[in-house]
C-alpha cells in the first residue's frame, strides 16, 4: 500500500513551519514511523510540513556546560555515535543502538521517535527516565520557546500534548555521578520492544521509566522515593517493584504478544535487572 494524497511544503524558516503546524500540517523529519503509518493508511494527514530545509532546525547535538541539546533532526545514529552522549548518557546511546535497524537509525530522528509517542518507543522511555525537557514552539505564541518536561509530554497511545506546537529540540541536564541502564525485551534483538525500561540514578534521586505496560511510556513514581530513601540495594526490591506496578492504574496494550500480567511481570524483571546494572556501574557505551 501507498500513502494517500497530501499537501506538501518544505519551508526554509521555522516561522513558516510553525504556521504550517498551526494550520494542521504534520511535521516530517525522518519519517520512519510516519511514512509507515501513512503507507498502511492508518494515518492520512492532509498536509505535511517537511522540516529538513529549515536553517534554525539542526541535526547537531550541542554540548554546553550543564546541558546537552539534541536537535530536531538528530538521527538515532548520530546520538548513538556522539562521544559526549556515550560518555555521559550511555543508556541513551544503548537505547538508540537497539532501535530498529541500521537503515532506520540512519534516517529516523530522536525527537521524531519521542513525538511518535509509541508506548514502547526506545527513545521515549530512555529520555523519560533522563528527565529530558522538550523545547517547543508555536505560531500562536510568536514562536516563543515553551519547555515541556517529558513527564508531562505523553497524552495517550501515540499521542502527545503538543497539539499545534512543534517540538524543536530536547534538553538534558548534565550531572556528574549519574549512572543509568536501558534494557528492552523484544522477541528477537532489535525487534519491536514488548517491554522496555530505563533506570537513571543520580545524586538527586532515581528515575524509573517503563514502556509496554500502558498506552503511554510511564514513570514508576511511587517506586522512585523507595529507591531514593532505601538505596538501590534493597532486600525487598522485587516485592516493591511488583507491588508498585500492581498498584499503578494501567491501561494495557492489546496485542498478540502476551497478557497484561505477563508484560507487567516482564517489566518488573527488567527493572530489577536495570537496577542491578546501575549498582554495577550502569551501561557503558
Amino acid at each position: 500500500m501507498r500513502p494517500g494524497p497530501f499537501q506538501y511544503s518544505k519551508p526554509e524558516t521555522l516561522e513558516q513551519a510553525l504556521d504550517a503546524v498551526l494550520n494542521g500540517a504534520v511535521p516530517l523529519a525522518g519519517g520512519q514511523s510516519l511514512i509507515q503509518a501513512m503507507r498502511l493508511r492508518f494515518t492520512e494527514p492532509t498536509s505535511i510540513v517537511d522540516l529538513n530545509s529549515i536553517a534554525d532546525l539542526s541535526d547537531e547535538i550541542n554540548c554546553e556546560p550543564g546541558v546537552v541539546t539534541i536537535g530536531a533532526l538528530t538521527t538515532h545514529r548520530q546520538l548513538a555515535e556522539h562521544s559526549t552522549v556515550r560518555d555521559e548518557f550511555p543508556w541513551l546511546a544503548k537505547a538508540a543502538t537497539e532501535l530498529g535497524d541500521v537503515q532506520v537509525r540512519n534516517r529516523g530522528t530522536v525527537l521524531g521517535n519521542v513525538c511518535w509517542a509509541d508506548p514502547r518507543a526506545n527513545m521515549a522511555v530512555a529520555l523519560l527516565a533522563s528527565d529530558a525537557v522538550i523545547n517547543t514552539g508555536s505560531a500562536s505564541t510568536d514562536g516563543k520557546i515553551e519547555q515541556i518536561p517529558i513527564v508531562d509530554f505523553f497524552a495517550g497511545f501515540r499521542r502527545t500534548v503538543l497539539n499545534a506546537r512543534l517540538a524543536i529540540s530536547i534538553e538534558l541536564v548534565r550531572e556528574s555521578n549519574t549512572v543509568g541502564s536501558y534494557i528492552e525485551f523484544s522477541r528477537q534483538r532489535q525487534d519491536l520492544a514488548l517491554c522496555n525500561v530505563c533506570v537513571v540514578h543520580r545524586n538527586s534521586g532515581t528515575a524509573v521509566a517503563v514502556g509496554g505496560i500502558d498506552q503511554r511510556p510511564i514513570r514508576l513514581s511511587q517506586l522512585e522515593p523507595v529507591l531514593r530513601d532505601q538505596g538501590l540495594s534493597n532486600n525487598l526490591l522485587t516485592t516493591r517493584i511488583k507491588q508498585t506496578i500492581a498498584e499503578s492504574r494501567l491501561d494495557p496494550i492489546d496485542d498478540q504478544y502476551g497478557s497484561p500480567d505477563f508484560k507487567q511481570h516482564l517489566a518488573a524483571t527488567l527493572i530489577e535487572r536495570a537496577i542491578e546494572k546501575c549498582i554495577d556501574g550502569g551501561d557503558h557505551a
Binding site: R2, Q103, F185, R187, R189, Q190, D191
Partner: protein, 971 residues
C-alpha cells in the same frame, strides 16, 4: 519557500532531481510518491524491491547521500537534490565487487529477492568497519534490517566475512571450470547468482509499463457476514479509475475457483474468487478497483462502501467442528457441517495393545498457525488481446502449467490461447501452489482488453494470504517397560481456515502427518483420525514440510515423555524402536525404500559430543542457566504425487543440442530459488559429456517448455533429473552415431568429454559444436544422422517414479510419496525462566538425501529451512481476535526471523543412493522444516526440567514459556 507545480489532473506535483547511480533523473512527482517507486518507475531500475510496506524487510535498501536507507520509507521529494546508489551502481565496469563475489561463492543467494538490499547493507557495513576486526554479532547488527526467507542467514554472514578477507570462501567450482570426474556432486556456484547479485532477475514486477492499469482488491472487513449491498458510486467517479467491479457483477464472467485437489469425498466450497453473497474470512475479496496508477487505485478502493450483516464467527476449531447442521455458523451450509474432510484409519488391535501396555503416554499437542511468507508476495501482470482472444499472464507461481489449466477452466478460454510466463520467483515454499486471487487481475484484463497489474501488498498477504500448521492433536502411544513401542494413536483436528483444497493445496498436510507418525519406527498397530475443519480464517495452503513436521513432533514428543517416565535415555528409546531393515513397509501403506536412520542418529550424537554437552548443561544449571538439549530422527517423504490433482507422478523435459553445440534444457519445474539452472546443467553436462557452461536451463513459459506439474514436494532432483537422463540418453546415442559417420570410425570407440568427441583408437576427434553443425547444416542430418532413430538433436524425456502407488488396498492404503530421505536433528537452547525467552544456541543435522547433486545448494536449502522453522516455532504467528480479525498487519508484527534468529548450524550428510533414480538422488530441501520444531520443543522441556514442565504447545513465545514456568512454580 519552493512551490509545487499544479497539473491539470488537480494533483500537485513537485519538480525534483535525484542523481541515481551517477545519472541525473529529473521528474515532476506527487509528494506522496515513495522513493522506491521513483527508482523503479522513473529511474527504470529493478534492483531495489518491495517486500513489505512497513520498512521492515529491507529489500528496498539503497544508499542516499552515503547512508543506507529504506527507499520505501522515504518520499522521493525528500531525496530531491540528493545522490542515490542502488545495487545496479555497485559493480564497477561490470566486474562484481568483493561483496557481490562473496555472496556468489558462499551461496548467500537463493530466490534473490532480498539480495539487492542485503548486499547494500553488507557493503555499508564493510565500508564502515574498514580494516578493523569484527564479530558475527557486528554483522548481525548491520544486517538486522534485511529479511531473507531462504538462506537462513548463515551463508550471508559468512559472505560478509569472506568479502572482508577474514575467511576464505568454502570450496567451490565455477560453471566454466572443468572437473576431473563428474559435475554431479560438485559444489558449483550458482549460475543464476550472476544476475541476482547485480539487482537483475526476472521477477514479475519487473515487467509492464506505462500502459498498465493497476488493480487493487477491496477486502472484507468482516470475518463472517452476508454482503447486503456494495456502493461503488464514489469509487467509479474517482480520478484515474477504469473499472470498479463487485463480486456480484463479476459472476457472469467466470466460473468458481478451480480446486487444486478434488478427490475421495472431500467437500469443496465452490466459491468465486470475489465473494458475491457472503464473506467467510477477514480480507476476502469483495470488489476490485482498476486505475491508471497504484496510488489512485488505492484512493478509489477506499471509497467502496460495503454493507454487511454479521454472522457468527468461528475462530476456534474445537467449536467450529461441533457447529450443528442448521446453524448460521456453518461456512458452507450445503455441507451440513464445518468438516471439509475426515479420514479414519486403523490397523491391528489397538485397544488390546493399549490395555496390555506397561505405559501409556497420552498427550494433547498444539501447533499454531503460521505461513510461508516468501519475500515476494503474489503478483500478476495480465494482458488480453481481444482481436486474438489470447490471455498472457506473468505471475509469481510455482506451477505455471497448472495456472494455465485453471485459468482456462475458470474463463472458458482454450489452453492454447493462454500463455503463462513465470520468470524468477521470490520464494514459494508451497504458498504459490494454488490459483485463486491470481484469477482476479486476469478477469480485469479480459474485461478491459488492457494490461492489468496486481502486486499483492504485504498487508493483503497478512490478512488473506495462505497459512499452514494450526493443529490440535491428541497423540497416544503404548510401551512395554523397556520402552518398546507397541501401538500408536493420533487424533488430529486441522484448522483449514476457510478452505484447504480449492483456494489452497494444504489439506494433505494433516493427512500426511497421520500417515507418517509411525514413519521411522517399528510399530504395526495404529489408529488415526484426521478431521479437516473450516473456520473463518484465510485459506490453508501447502508449506515446506507438508505435514511431515506434524508426524515428527507427534511421535517424538510422545517418545520423550515415555523416556522420561520409564527413565530411559531419550536417544536409547529411539534406538530401541527405530526401523532396522529396508525396504520397510509402514503399517500405513508407504514403503521406505532404504536409508540410514540409525547411522544418522549415531553420527549426530558423535558430532554433538552429547556426553560433553550434558556435562556443560549440568554445570550451567549450577550457575542458574537453563540449557536444554534434544535429539530426534526424522524422515522426509518427498516427490509426492496425488490423485485428483495436478500434482502428478511424472515430469518431462526437452533437451536440445543447437547447431553451435550449446545445450538447452526446457523443464516444467519452476525456478523459485532452488538453483535448478545450476543443478540441472550439472546433470546434463555429465550425461552429454559437454561443458557445463554450454548448458542453459529454461523454465516458466508454458509456450516454451514441455508440460510439467511444477515445483513442489522436493521432486526436482528425482523427476526433472530423471527426465533429463531419458532425453540425454536419446540425444547421446544420436551424437555418437553422427560422430561415427563424421569421423569415419565405430560408435564403440567414441567418447564425449568436455564437449569434444574423441576416438580412443585413433587421433580422430571433433568438437561437439562441429558435430552439431554437421548434423544441422553441413552436410546435414540425412548424411550424419541417417542411422539414428530421429534426425534431430532434440529429445523429449519423461520420468515416472516407480514407487508411487495409487491403488488403494482394502485398508485404504496407498503410496503418494515414493522417496524417503531422512536423518537426525538436534538442538541446544537456553531458556530464561523469568522472561520466557528461548535462545537457540545451536542446531545439528545429519541428513541423507541419496546422491547429492550440488552440496552447496542442498546445504543452503536445509539451513534455510531450519531458520524458517525456528521462526515458525519461536516468533511467527497468525493470531485472530474473537471477531476473526488478524492481529498481525506487518511482517514485524507477525515475527519474521531476522539474522538474529539464526544460530550456528552443524550439517553433515550421509549418502544412501536411491534405488529408483539412475542418478541416485532422493530429493531434498524440506528437512530443515521437519524436525526443528520438535527438537526446540524437546530442548525447552529439557532446559526447564528443574521446574517439571511439559512442552506440548509448539509455540515457544516468551509469554507461553513464562506461563509454563509460572504455573509450575505455583503448584
Amino acid at each position: 519557500m519552493p512551490e509545487p507545480n499544479e497539473t491539470n489532473g488537480g494533483r500537485n506535483t513537485w519538480p525534483i532531481q535525484i542523481s541515481v547511480n551517477g545519472i541525473r533523473v529529473a521528474r515532476n512527482v506527487e509528494p506522496r510518491m515513495l522513493l522506491i517507486d521513483f527508482l523503479r518507475t522513473q529511474a527504470q531500475l529493478s534492483g531495489p524491491r518491495i517486500g513489505c510496506e512497513e520498512g521492515a524487510c529491507g529489500a528496498c535498501t539503497v544508499e542516499l547521500n552515503g547512508c543506507t536507507i529504506k527507499s520505501c520509507l522515504t518520499l522521493a521529494v525528500q531525496a530531491d537534490g540528493g545522490s542515490v546508489t542502488t545495487i545496479e551502481g555497485v559493480a564497477e565496469n561490470d566486474t562484481l565487487s568483493k561483496v557481490q563475489k562473496a555472496f556468489v561463492e558462499c551461496h548467500a543467494v537463493q530466490c534473490g529477492y532480498c539480495t539487492s538490499g542485503m548486499i547494500m547493507s553488507a557493503r555499508a557495513f564493510l565500508d564502515s568497519v574498514g580494516s578493523a576486526d569484527f564479530s558475527d554479532d557486528d554483522v548481525r547488527q548491520a544486517l538486522s534490517g534485511n529479511y531473507c526467507r531462504c538462506t537462513g542467514y548463515n551463508n550471508i554472514i559468512q559472505a560478509v566475512k569472506v568479502a572482508a578477507g577474514k575467511e576464505t570462501a568454502p570450496a567451490h567450482l565455477d560453471a566454466d571450470s572443468t572437473p576431473d570426474d563428474s559435475w554431479i556432486g560438485q559444489p558449483v556456484v550458482r549460475r543464476e547468482d550472476s544476475r541476482l547479485v547485480r539487482g537483475g532477475g526476472r521477477y514479475t514486477d519487473n515487467y509492464g509499463g506505462a500502459e498498465d492499469l493497476h488493480l487493487v482488491i477491496v477486502r472484507s472487513q468482516r470475518a463472517h457476514a452476508k454482503i447486503k449491498a456494495i456502493d461503488t458510486t464514489a469509487a467509479k467517479a474517482a480520478p484515474g479509475v477504469a473499472l470498479v467491479l463487485t463480486g456480484k457483477e463479476a459472476l457472469a464472467h467466470w466460473q468458481p475457483i478451480a480446486p487444486t485437489t478434488d478427490m475421495l469425498d472431500l467437500n469443496l466450497p465452490r466459491k468465486h474468487a470475489i465473494a458475491h453473497d457472503k464473506v467467510i474470512y477477514y480480507g476476502e475479496p469483495v470488489a476490485i478497483v482498476v486505475a491508471t496508477d497504484p496510488y489512485l487505485a488505492e484512493d478509489a478502493a477506499q471509497l467502496v462502501v460495503v454493507d454487511y450483516e454479521d454472522l457468527p464467527v468461528n475462530t476456534d476449531i474445537r467449536t467450529a467442528v461441533d457447529v450443528a447442521a442448521d446453524n448460521s455458523g456453518l461456512l458452507y451450509p450445503q455441507w451440513g457441517s464445518n468438516v471439509q474432510f475426515e479420514s479414519p484409519f486403523e490397523i491391528g488391535d489397538v485397544d488390546a495393545k493399549f490395555a496390555a501396555a506397561d505405559l501409556v503416554v497420552d498427550e494433547e499437542i498444539v501447533s499454531h498457525r503460521i505461513g510461508a511468507m516468501p519475500m515476494e508476495t503474489r503478483m500478476v501482470h495480465a494482458d488480453f488481446d481481444r482481436a486474438d482472444q489470447r490471455l498472457v499472464i506473468r505471475a509469481s507461481t510455482q506451477v505455471p502449467h497448472q495456472m494455465r489449466m485453471y485459468m482456462s477452466k475458470v474463463f472458458g478460454i482454450p489452453e492454447t490461447h493462454i500463455q503463462v510466463v513465470v520468470g524468477d520467483v521470490g520464494g514459494g515454499f508451497g504458498a504459490k501452489l494454488s490459483v485463486d486471487t491470481e484469477l482476479i487481475p486476469a478477469l480485469a484484463a479480459i474485461l478491459l482488453g488492457r494490461p492489468v497489474k496486481w502486486f499483492e501488498s504485504r498487508s493483503e498477504w497478512m490478512f488473506a494470504g495462505p497459512a499452514a500448521r494450526d493443529y490440535k492433536i491428541r497423540a497416544r502411544a503404548a510401551f512395554d517397560s523397556n520402552g518398546k513401542l507397541l501401538a500408536c494413536e493420533s487424533d488430529v483436528l486441522a484448522d483449514m481456515g476457510c478452505d484447504g483444497a480449492e483456494r489452497g493445496a494444504g489439506l494433505g498436510m494433516p493427512l500426511n502427518g497421520a500417515i507418517y507418525m509411525v514413519g521411522a519406527y517399528l510399530v504395526d498397530t495404529y489408529r488415526s483420525r484426521v478431521r479437516c475443519v473450516v473456520t473463518n480464517k484465510p485459506p490453508y495452503n501447502a508449506y515446506r514440510g507438508y505435514g511431515k513436521d506434524l508426524a515428527n513432533f507427534m511421535i517424538e514428543r510422545v517418545l520423550d515423555q515415555a523416556a522420561d517416565r520409564l527413565e530411559i535415555d531419550p536417544v536409547e528409546i529411539r534406538r530401541t524402536n527405530l526401523l532396522t531393515n529396508y525396504p520397510h513397509h509402514l503399517c500405513t501403506g508407504p514403503i521406505i525404500e532404504n536409508g540410514s536412520l540409525r547411522e544418522a542418529l549415531d553420527k549426530i550424537v558423535d558430532a554433538m559430543d552429547l556426553d560433553e554437552l550434558r556435562r556443560e548443561q549440568a554445570n550451567a544449571l549450577q550457575t542458574g542457566r537453563y540449557i536444554g538439549i534434544c535429539v530426534v530422527p526424522y524422515i522426509e517423504p518427498s516427490g509426492g504425487a496425488f490423485p485428483g490433482s495436478a500434482f502428478q507422478n511424472y515430469e518431462s523435459v526437452t533437451v536440445r543440442v543447437a547447431a553451435d553445440g550449446s545445450v538447452l534444457v526446457m523443464t516444467g519445474i519452476q525456478n523459485i530459488g532452488q538453483g535448478i539452472e545450476t543443478a540441472y546443467a550439472q546433470v546434463t553436462a555429465d550425461l552429454l559429456g559437454c561443458h557445463m557452461s554450454d548448458v542453459s536451463v529454461v523454465w516458466g513459459d508454458t509456450t516454451a517448455i514441455p508440460f510439467g506439474s511444477g515445483t513442489f514436494s522436493s521432486r526436482g532432483a528425482m523427476y526433472a533429473v530423471g527426465a533429463i537422463v531419458d532425453a540425454a540418453e536419446k540425444i547421446k546415442t544420436r551424437l555418437l552415431l553422427g560422430a561415427a559417420v563424421l569421423l569415419e570410425c565405430s560408435v564403440e570407440e567414441l567418447e564425449i568429454k568436455n564437449s569434444v568427441v574423441k576416438s580412443n583408437k585413433s587421433d580422430s576427434s571433433c568438437t561437439l559444436a562441429e558435430l552439431a553443425f554437421a548434423c544441422y547444416v553441413q552436410p546435414g542430418a540425412e548424411i550424419i544422422l541417417n542411422n539414428a532413430d530421429a534426425p534431430l538433436l532434440e529429445a523429449h524425456g519423461t520420468y515416472r517414479h516407480p514407487q508411487v502407488n495409487w491403488k488403494f488396498d482394502e485398508k485404504g492404503r496407498a503410496q503418494f510419496y515414493p522417496s524417503h530421505p531422512g536423518g537426525a536433528a538436534a538442538a541446544m537452547v537456553e531458556v530464561d525462566p523469568e522472561t520466557g525467552r528461548v535462545d537457540v544456541l545451536k542446531i545439528w543435522m545429519v541428513a541423507d538425501h541419496g546422491v547429492i547433486l550440488n552440496p552447496l545448494i542442498l546445504s543452503g536449502q536445509t539451513k534455510g529451512g531450519v531458520v524458517q522453522q525456528i521462526g515458525a516455532t519461536i516468533y511467527e504467528s497468525f493470531e485472530y481476535d474473537t471477531d476473526g480479525i488478524p492481529y498481525a498487519r506487518t511482517m514485524k508484527d507477525y515475527g519474521m526471523p531476522t539474522v538474529w534468529a539464526a544460530p550456528p548450524i552443524h550439517l553433515e550428510h550421509l549418502v544412501t543412493k536411491s534405488p529408483a533414480t539412475s542418478v541416485g538422488a532422493k530429493g531434498g530441501g524440506e528437512d530443515g522444516c521437519i524436525a526443528t520444531t520438535t527438537v526446540l520443543m524437546g530442548a525447552v522441556e529439557d532446559a526447564l526440567r528443574p521446574f517439571g514442565v511439559k512442552v506440548m504447545d509448539g509455540q515457544l513465545t516468551p509469554a507461553r514459556i513464562r506461563a509454563l514456568v509460572a504455573d509450575a512454580q505455583a503448584e
